[in-house]
């Protein structure tokens, strides 16, 4: 399939068709792995190329849309979720992926994360957390561990770091998973499951900053002597072992798992079905349209004007 794609004969979606600019990330940055996983999933799933939308806010990781050849937008700091919500609510035909960092997701855009989750907007959000502000060259981030020395905390960070999973649980996200960029197969699985979830799905990906915080997540990397502990999910197979496995619909259990000491657990913490904002708004529109769907826009407007005479 090397012919030029046309509207009627879509070409097979390949990694090369999806590749845009060369990433500007530093060598060794964890974000390369996230990009590779994204290509891999899109290639595997063969969505219509024109229906893939890649959105981001501001930060190193938010450069993402430039490196993917798809419709996309590089928006302002912290506001990618409401931007993506506008796309999601008005265009059910599109596949919406939002990428950002810990600053975008947990700090300047924290309120939007909260409300996107609460509303259960149908989209997938990948938060690439390096626990440091890299683009502005080493300031404290909302997930920097206490004691981490930065240019804005020269004697070490003093504020309690955000626990992303707990924040998302309390806000009402309906799919919450955690992964590490060095564990590319597991991360790819998590992103793919998030993508298949109907609703606000978030993968919190630990993604090392090779320049300003290179050892941030070494303790989660088995190749460097760390431990990558994956949550075992219930198989509902009636075996005694299954008793000990995690029920992903159990919110209280998810909180307990999210409280494990750093670097914590990886895998799916929580997944439930709940009506999406998209569904609820569609139902509201449908209920109103029952009375108006047989009328033209002009007729509906004329009726309103007749009532004001």
């Amino acid at each position: 399939m090397s012919t030029t794609p046309t509207a009627t004969e879509p070409a097979k979606l390949t990694k090369s068709a999806l590749t845009a600019e060369r990433p500007t990330w530093c060598p060794g940055c964890g974000d390369y792995s996230v990009l590779a996983a994204y290509y891999k999933i899109l290639e595997k799933r063969q969505f219509a190329h024109e229906n893939i939308v890649t959105l981001a806010g501001i930060g190193c990781s938010s450069r993402f849309p430039y490196f993917v050849n798809s419709h996309g937008a590089h928006y302002i700091h912290g506001r990618s979720i409401p931007l993506a919500t506008g796309v999601s609510l008005s265009r059910p035909d599109l596949k919406i992926f939002v990428f950002g960092g810990d600053g975008d997701g947990f700090s300047i855009g924290g309120n939007h994360l909260e409300h996107g989750a609460r509303k259960n907007v149908n989209l997938t959000y990948i938060i690439m957390d390096n626990s440091v502000y890299g683009m502005t060259k080493k300031q404290t981030s909302p997930t920097s561990p206490v004691g981490f020395k930065t240019k804005t905390d020269p004697t070490g960070a003093m504020d309690r770091p955000v626990n992303g999973v707990k924040k998302l649980l309390s806000a009402g996200a309906t799919f919450i998973a955690r992964a590490h960029a060095s564990q590319i197969n597991h991360m790819t699985q998590m992103i793919e499951r998030a993508m298949d979830h109907e609703g606000f799905s978030v993968v919190h990906v630990l993604s090392d900053c090779s320049e300003f915080f290179p050892d941030a997540f070494t303790s989660a990397n088995p190749r460097k002597g760390g431990e990558y502990n994956i949550i075992e999910e219930k198989k509902w197979d009636q075996t005694p072992e299954d008793e000990l496995r995690h029920d992903v619909t159990d919110e209280a259990a998810a909180y307990r798992l999210a409280d494990r000491p750093f670097p914590g657990l990886f895998g799916v913490f929580f997944q439930v079905e709940r009506a999406t904002k998209n569904d609820l708004e569609d139902m509201w529109i449908d209920s109103v349209r029952l009375k108006t769907s047989h009328c033209s826009d002009l007729e509906i407007l004329q009726q309103s004007f007749d009532r004001m005479k």
Binding site: T4, H71, H74, G78, A84, G86, I285, K309
Partner: protein, 604 residues
């Protein structure tokens, strides 16, 4: 509060009743001010009168103040009804209806000499020694309770007053009863019946005993025959947006913008569209940009403080070149300021708000009717030039009710769907030689290259670039589209002679008072004319040719004269035309211009 027993009986006022003869029986213009508390329902009486005038093909304009408190507090609703052109809500009232002592105390000064005070003698004790006015005291509260029975308390006294006014002004009772049934009958029929009882009690009251005159509006013979519709400025903006084909939007509540979003939230689903209340102002503008990015021209709106919060995202719209409509229903500022008062002090913010050189279009509505048409024009410009467009309204327009000719909807209604037709090989989102027209997501790109919209400076393909030469070119590209727009804008109509001594320049809700001031000054022989600017950024080309024909230019606006003695538009015009004859007349007490204030200001 003075009790009934101490109030002088209304029938003890024969000495002053004769003053009503000072007023002609056939009138073509009357200003009625209803003063009470916000829970007295005076707004709905005013609304009924406005709608009645609209149905009778009379001109009408209302003016309302509401307290910024959550519930209660003194409030007024002023209705000016006329058989001729009604341009302002009136400087002084011909009739004052006072429900409470404070209503009388605070508003008797606004009654014309020879005017009629209609007061609730259960609650108000006027100074009857003041012989300038005609006093009509009616036990409004107790008569309403008597008519409706015990449980209603004094609810319904507003409708009782409506009945009284109907008797005094010979209003069309059948039309009023129909309006009452339409208003209350929707909820339940017994409510409408109760209201009609109150109305009948007021209408049947022997007002002849107190007031020698009955009044009658001169009949109106209108040509053309288009029906009149009656609405307020926020409704006109909302329905103008709908007529313009705007189907998506997002906002956060703030006075006085809120009713626009309430209407859009309820109305847009009828058309298959959607309006979302967001968690904050930043989310609102961002979600609206998400809708626009998806290919649906969308709207966000707010009042001053909320617009401040949106400015970063509006800058992105300017850089990424996305169409977006931003409504600012202005109120008194800065900060939380005067939430329920009028000011035109957000012009600089609309034109210059935000960092960097970020061109955007700024339009202002002159009247309630114009709110409707400005929304259509804003949508047209946003689509054609792929740019953010501000619509400036203000607190006085937002609650003012006007009757105007029904727009020709068949001619005006726009349809809009995202344009997802495949784009050819070589498509550029930011071409230097053309105005940007984006390919929304879902559009197949036949060259295989998909566009990324960006707030970073970029080349024609949207690729980020810090090249100094490119930043120059792209800055010019974004600016030049506004210059192209300026070339296609019509010059404003000149009211008065094309040359003379003084030209008044206005924008926004000052349209009516300025026009009325010009009419009065011309009647006494002054060589005064006026223009009203709808497009404030860009200004239409050729204004200097109008300015050249006048000895002095006075810009009339509701904002501060600033450090250097000039209001916001005056400063913009002085910078643009470098013309020292441009002067400034400003006002910042939170109320609209009175006609006499403009005349005095100009005559100084």
């Amino acid at each position: 509060m003075v009790k009934t027993s101490q109030t002088p009986s209304s029938s003890t006022l024969p000495a002053t009743a004769g003053r009503a003869d000072l007023r002609p029986q056939h009138i073509h213009d009357a200003v009625i001010r209803l003063a009470g508390n916000s829970q007295d329902g005076i707004q709905s009486v005013g609304g009924f009168l406005a709608r009645l005038a609209g149905r009778s093909a009379q001109e009408v304009m209302t003016y309302m103040t509401i307290p910024a408190t959550i519930s209660g507090g003194p409030s007024i609703f002023q209705v000016r009804i006329g058989s001729g052109e009604v341009l302002s809500a009136g400087d002084e009232a011909d009739f004052l209806v006072a429900f409470h002592q404070h209503s009388y105390d605070n508003h008797i000064g606004a009654l014309k000499e020879g005017g009629v005070l209609l007061y609730d003698s259960d609650n108000v004790q006027p100074n009857l020694d003041d012989k300038r006015f005609v006093y009509v005291g009616v036990q409004i509260t107790s008569l309403t309770i008597e008519a409706l029975g015990g449980t209603a308390k004094d609810k319904g006294k507003n409708i009782f007053v409506l009945g009284l006014l109907a008797a005094i002004f010979n209003f069309d009772v059948e039309k009023l009863k129909t309006l009452i049934r339409e208003r209350f009958g929707k909820k339940n029929a017994s409510l409408a019946d109760t209201a009609l009882i109150a109305f009948q009690a007021g209408y049947g009251y022997p007002v002849d005993d107190l007031l020698a005159n009955r009044y009658h509006f001169e009949a109106v013979h209108k040509e053309g025959g288009r029906a009149q519709i009656t609405m307020d400025g926020n409704q006109a903006i909302a329905f103008g947006l709908i007529a313009a084909g705007v189907r998506y939007g997002a906002a956060y509540p703030i006075t006085p913008w809120t009713s626009v979003m309430e209407i859009l939230r309820a109305e847009l689903p009828k058309y298959g569209g959607l309006f979302v209340q967001t968690e904050d102002e930043l989310a609102a503008v961002s979600m609206a940009l998400g809708f626009s990015y998806s290919g649906h021209l969308s709207v966000t709106g707010s009042s001053g403080p909320g617009i401040s919060l949106k400015t970063e995202a509006i800058g992105w719209a300017s850089m990424a070149e996305l169409p977006l409509l931003i409504v600012n229903v202005q109120r008194g500022g800065p900060s939380t300021g005067l939430p329920t008062n009028v000011e035109q002090s957000d012009l600089y913010q609309a034109i210059y708000g935000g960092h960097g050189d970020s061109p955007r279009v700024v339009l202002a509505a002159a009247s309630v009717e114009d709110c409707f048409y400005v929304a259509l024009e804003a949508a047209r410009i946003a689509r054609k030039y792929s740019t953010p467009v501000f619509i400036l309204s203000d607190s006085s327009l937002s609650t003012r009710i006007e009757a105007f000719d029904e727009p020709d909807l068949k001619e005006l209604v726009q349809h809009s769907k995202p344009d997802l037709t495949p784009r050819p090989d070589g498509f550029k989102p930011y071409p230097l030689d053309q105005i940007t027209q984006h390919a929304p997501p879902g559009t197949p790109m036949l060259g295989g290259k998909y566009p990324v919209l960006t707030g970073l400076e970029h080349d024609e393909t949207g690729h980020p670039s810090g090249s100094p030469a490119l930043h120059v070119k792209m800055t010019v590209k974004r600016r030049e589209k506004l210059q192209k727009l300026a070339a296609e804008l019509p010059l404003p109509d000149l009211h008065g002679d094309p040359e003379g001594d003084t030209l008044l320049v206005g924008w926004g809700s000052t349209y009516g008072p300025i026009r009325e001031a010009v009419n009065r000054m011309r009647t006494r022989g002054d060589k005064v004319s006026a223009i009203h600017l709808r497009s404030l950024h860009p200004l239409p080309n050729g204004l200097e040719t109008i300015f050249a024909r006048f000895r002095r230019i006075i810009v009339v606006e509701l904002n501060d004269s600033g450090l250097y003695g000039f209001g916001q538009l005056a400063t913009v015009l002085r910078a643009r035309y470098c013309d020292p004859k441009i002067q400034s007349l400003t006002k910042t007490n939170g109320l609209s211009f009175l006609v006499k204030e403009i005349i005095e200001g100009v005559s100084k």
